[in-house]
């Protein structure tokens, strides 16, 4: 299993020691196994939120007109 898990590559990010200690204290008796686990979780959440804000629709106005015709024909609009 360890060999399986080791495939994912990791890197180091620096955070203030005081913050590290606060997180260490915070995650006691939670499901987080380490400060790294917690930081990864929080960062994933924040990154996904920012990515979602940059979203744009994957179609042109021309596509929209064509699709609207189909949706009307099928009774969806």
């Amino acid at each position: 299993m360890n060999e399986e898990k080791q495939r994912r590559k990791y890197t180091t990010v620096s955070i203030p020691v005081s913050l590290y200690e606060r997180i260490k204290d915070l995650i006691k008796d939670t499901g987080f196994k380490s400060v790294s686990d917690y930081v990864t979780y929080v960062l994933r959440e924040i990154v996904a939120m920012h990515e979602a804000e940059r979203s744009s629709e994957p179609f042109t106005e021309e596509d929209v007109e064509r699709i609207k015709q189909k949706l009307k024909a099928l009774g969806y609009l």
Binding site: R8, E51, R54, K68, L71, L77
Partner: protein, 382 residues
Amino acid sequence: MISRPHGGRLVNRVLASKRRERILEEVDEFERLNIDQGRAFDAENIAYGVYSPLEGFMLEEEFLSVLDDMRLPNDLPWTIPIVLDIDEKTAARIEPGDDVMLYYEDIPVAVLHVEEIYVYDKERFARCVFKTTDLAHPGVAKVFSMGKYLIGGRVDLINDPPNPFERYTLRPVETRVLFRERGWKTVVGFQTRNVPHLGHEYLQKSALVFVDGLFINPVIGRKKRGDFRDDVILSAYEVLLRNYYPRESAVLSIVRYEMRYAGPREAIHHAIMRKNFGCTHFIVGRDHAGVGNYYGPYEAQEIFKEFPDLGITPLFFREFFYCRKCGAIVNERVCPHDESFRLRFSGTKIREMIRSGKTPPPEFMRPEVAEAIFQFENPFVE
């Protein structure tokens, strides 16, 4: 704003008409590979963006990353391997760099641009995805029946696999336009494989209280003997929507997909598919995508805690039932009465009633829905 596609971009690998025509003219020059219905649906889902950001069948790095980390190598959540298996004899005549024509029911469905052929560990596959290696589990049995090799690479769709339900088939780009035109900013997806009973209706309507629109998205595909037929499920839903749902708040459209019965992992996969259709929320009930007793009743809800970056919000519900004392459909969070007052919605019980010609009681199923089912001489899969 409806959901951003998973990975940021809605994949489109449906070949444009000129290239498609050219390829079809040369179709006999391609190496031929026959695929089953589930893989044909996978190719279709890749091409139309239901599986965005996947552009093809997984390469080894993606496959192993999904098994071990439940993420793609670029860190995006992904829990179910989307793979194509081949046997030794086929592997001997194909190599990376080849273009292979995938056939389903003698129809050229897609071109596979082969990037990699690799061996894999079936036991590890089953253990990671299904949490068991018990061959009685249908997903495990399927894995152990697969060929020795996996073949990975991007696909280009040439023809949709035969589809008797065109009228109910909307692609992610189409549902996104539909949701926008209806003015829905929040949309909840509902996955189903069954005819609707009142428990389903209550679940959907409870969710609909919090969002602008409901996307009912039955899974069409291989079913077990004794399950309701796909056309029966669609007919039952049509009747339910016509009689009991505000027209502007609900949409019925299918997705063609082979169930893996992977419980918690598959719940995440189902949520990702609905995110690509544009849903912002996804209903996860009791024993979602489970089979037998392999998963805890609410394990498929708990797994969502591991994915803060999924980009679609799960709505968790406890099991609903009819309480004779409350005189309403409730669940254990709001009903204080004991089991003797509770009528559990049981799919098995409903199937038994229908099979013996009995109309399920109105506390179980809308009479119009039951009537629609009885319109079919045999509503069950033979």
